[in-house]
């Protein structure tokens, strides 16, 4: 059932077995996966089926971090407050986190998950089914064709298969929710306070509000906070009625360890001899639906990353490079560039294949893990939003490890290309240049990090908030480390895992 909260009678109370706050990738997946239970589910979504400016404006906040290219517009520009959440505009990049990402790495402070990749693998497979893509258990068969040969095979480099599947989870499941008798989705319903019981051991109720002025109360056995990596922290911190530190914040960890995916797209192109096929690394379109811009809606591509041995030996955070063929990024070859490639063609023995041929140009787009940093955080600002909730202040900080990893991978790629006579790379910007051109993935992670130890994490391995028996968190805010992979696939896997856990709790 779909209900517009603007139609509520003011002061109404909604009761359900399970209350899910937020209908983005995590909330929608969780609610949809539980649709066959006999339990009543209430999903509260701030937005509507389409974007609405006043609702989107509730994301506004301030930025106080150390990254020159980021400003306050990031707060409202990096997410969408509507049914389906950011799956309304995501790129469909799917990849599980690597096994090493789950481990405690001594060169990455505060790293380590309380669960392993093996624990999550069954749910990654379920996430594949949810999205309609093959699992990552085996590489696609087409890669065995010599046309797709691995050019960069070396001890220092490894590969990371990505699948692309653009799916709007809101649109996909909307009709199911409309038809459901046990699940009710409330639109325009904003959670504004998580009210603890007097002992602070459980959520008593959630206060809800609409921009049209309606107020309501939600009561449930279990609550799941799934409003996104910034909002989850904001709501926990802002809910100070019983505990002045907020909910789940006894260890002063809520909002801390904010992570993104620092991206660099202008480091430089790689030029590879034309007779060598880069097809393995290009996006192989499996399906192309009629979407704006004719974007491929399903496909695969192989990214390049340091091998695990290299990551360990050089103490690097996770990092990947996507090779984009035919891109106009980084400009073309000038006269001197031509000289370099012509000379290199001689040195690589390429001219012996019939003279110099213009090389293939691949733009390099790097994405790095954001090393956990306690001081990188979501805080409450001093201003209130129209619903009376403090606006967020984002202090996203980058250290040295992210750009170091990107530069290291770029240099490794250039080195392997030269070593194997594949071509040459032109890496123009300096490290300082890079800091000023850092991009991001619109991925908000880490602010309610997972740990078995209440002193080191906000939620436990089951995503339950430490010390609050009926409150769970879904979404990338529970990631203790970000890896370099896009988070949505892992968000879905964790939501499906949480679904299984909640089935037991509800029973």
């Amino acid at each position: 059932m779909l209900v517009d909260a603007d139609d509520w009678r003011d002061g109404t109370t909604i009761s359900a077995d399970l209350c899910i706050l937020g209908a983005g990738a995590a909330g929608v997946t969780l609610a949809h996966s539980l649709r066959d239970t006999t339990h009543s589910i209430a999903v509260f979504e701030s937005g509507a089926i389409t974007t609405e400016a006043p609702t989107q404006a509730l994301y506004a906040g301030t930025y106080s971090g150390n990254i020159p290219s980021v400003n306050a517009s990031y707060l409202s520009g990096s997410r969408i407050r509507m049914f389906g959440g950011s799956t309304n505009l995501w790129g469909g990049y799917c990849r599980p986190l690597d096994p090493l990402d789950f481990t405690e790495r001594e060169w990455v402070p505060d790293s380590g998950w309380p669960i392993s990749r093996t624990d999550l693998d069954p749910f990654y497979r379920a996430a594949s089914a949810e999205l309609g893509i093959p699992t990552f258990d085996a590489p696609p068969e087409y890669l065995a064709d010599p046309k797709y040969a691995a050019l960069f095979a070396s001890e220092s480099l490894g590969e990371r298969l990505y699948q692309f599947r653009y799916v709007n989870l809101g649109t996909r499941h909307l009709d199911d929710f409309k038809a459901s008798k046990k699940t009710t989705v409330y639109l325009h319903a904003n959670a504004v306070d998580l009210a603890l019981n007097p002992a602070g051991s459980a959520i008593d109720h959630v206060a809800l509000a609409t921009l049209s002025g309606k107020r309501a109360t939600a009561r449930a056995k279990l609550f799941v906070l799934a409003t996104g990596g910034i909002e989850n922290a904001r709501l926990l911190l802002a809910s100070r009625g019983v505990n002045p530190k907020g909910v789940g914040n006894d260890a002063d960890l809520v909002g801390r360890y904010f992570m993104e995916h620092p991206c660099i797209a202008n480091l430089g192109p790689l030029f590879v001899w034309k007779r060598l096929s880069l097809s393995r690394y290009d996006v192989k379109v499996v399906d192309r639906e009629a979407l704006p811009g004719s974007a491929p809606t399903m496909g695969t591509a192989m990214f390049i990353a340091p091998s695990d041995a290299t990551l360990r030996a050089r103490k690097l955070v996770s990092v990947t490079a996507q090779l984009s063929l035919g891109s106009t990024l980084n400009g073309g070859l000038n006269e001197f560039d031509h000289s370099v490639m012509r000379a290199a063609a001689d040195l690589d023995g390429e001219t012996a294949h019939g003279g110099f041929v213009e090389p293939e140009r691949a733009a390099l787009a790097f994405t790095s893990e954001n090393a956990p940093n306690r001081e990188s955080r979501v805080k409450l600002g001093t201003e209130l939003d129209p619903l009376g909730v403090p606006k967020p202040d984002l202090d996203w900080r980058l250290g040295n490890q992210e750009l170091e990893a990107i530069l290291a991978l770029a240099e490794m790629l250039a080195g392997v290309a030269g070593n194997l006579r594949l071509g040459r790379a032109r890496l123009t910007p300096t490290r300082d240049d890079l800091l000023h051109s850092v991009g991001w993935g619109n991925h908000h992670m880490g602010t309610t990090r997972m740990s078995s130890d209440p002193k080191r994490g906000v939620v436990d391995a089951n995503c339950q908030v430490h010390g609050v028996g009926n409150l769970f968190v879904a979404g990338s805010s529970v990631f203790p480390t970000s890896g370099a992979a896009n988070p949505t696939y892992t968000i879905l896997a964790l939501a499906l895992r949480l679904s299984e856990h909640l089935r037991g709790r509800l029973s």
Binding site: S154, S156, G268, F336, D337, H338, S339, V340, M341, R342, A343, A344, A345, D346, L347, G349, T351, A352, G355, F356, E411, A414, G415, V416, A417, G418, N419, R421, R424, A425, R426, L427, T428
Partner: protein, 126 residues
């Protein structure tokens, strides 16, 4: 004395360097030797494969490298290259340098040190 300083002086006086093209450019030999007799031991012929067709481009790259590293004299370059080893050894060294990170940046291009030095010798030789 730097390469830049050497360039300003008589080439015959300071450096005897010549590019000898045999058979209309089919076979190519670059000879570079230093004036400093004490270093004459390593100043031998640098021979590039006859299949090379992009010598002018190599020279252009070498000029840029010399501009960026004026402190490297021809003596230094030859001492580091040890061209007596033959081109196959130089080529193997280039490949190894790419893996070990013994590279230089020339206008952003990542080149093996030996690759860049070969270009520099060609530039000075021409």
């Amino acid at each position: 004395m730097t390469i830049r300083e050497r360039r300003r002086l008589s080439r015959r006086e300071l450096v005897v360097a010549a590019v000898t093209i045999v058979g209309g450019g089919v076979a190519l030999r670059i000879v570079a030797c230093a004036r400093d007799e004490s270093k004459a031991g390593h100043a031998t012929a640098l021979t590039l494969p006859t299949a090379f067709t992009e010598i002018e481009s190599l020279r252009e790259v070498g000029r840029k490298y010399c501009d960026l590293h004026p402190e490297e004299t021809l003596d230094d370059l030859l001492a580091k290259l040890q061209p007596k080893r033959g081109y196959a050894a130089l080529d193997a060294e280039i490949r190894k340098q790419f893996l070990t990170g013994d590279v230089v940046r020339v206008s952003g291009w990542v080149l093996a040190s030996t690759e860049a030095r070969i270009a520099a010798v060609v530039a000075l030789g021409g």
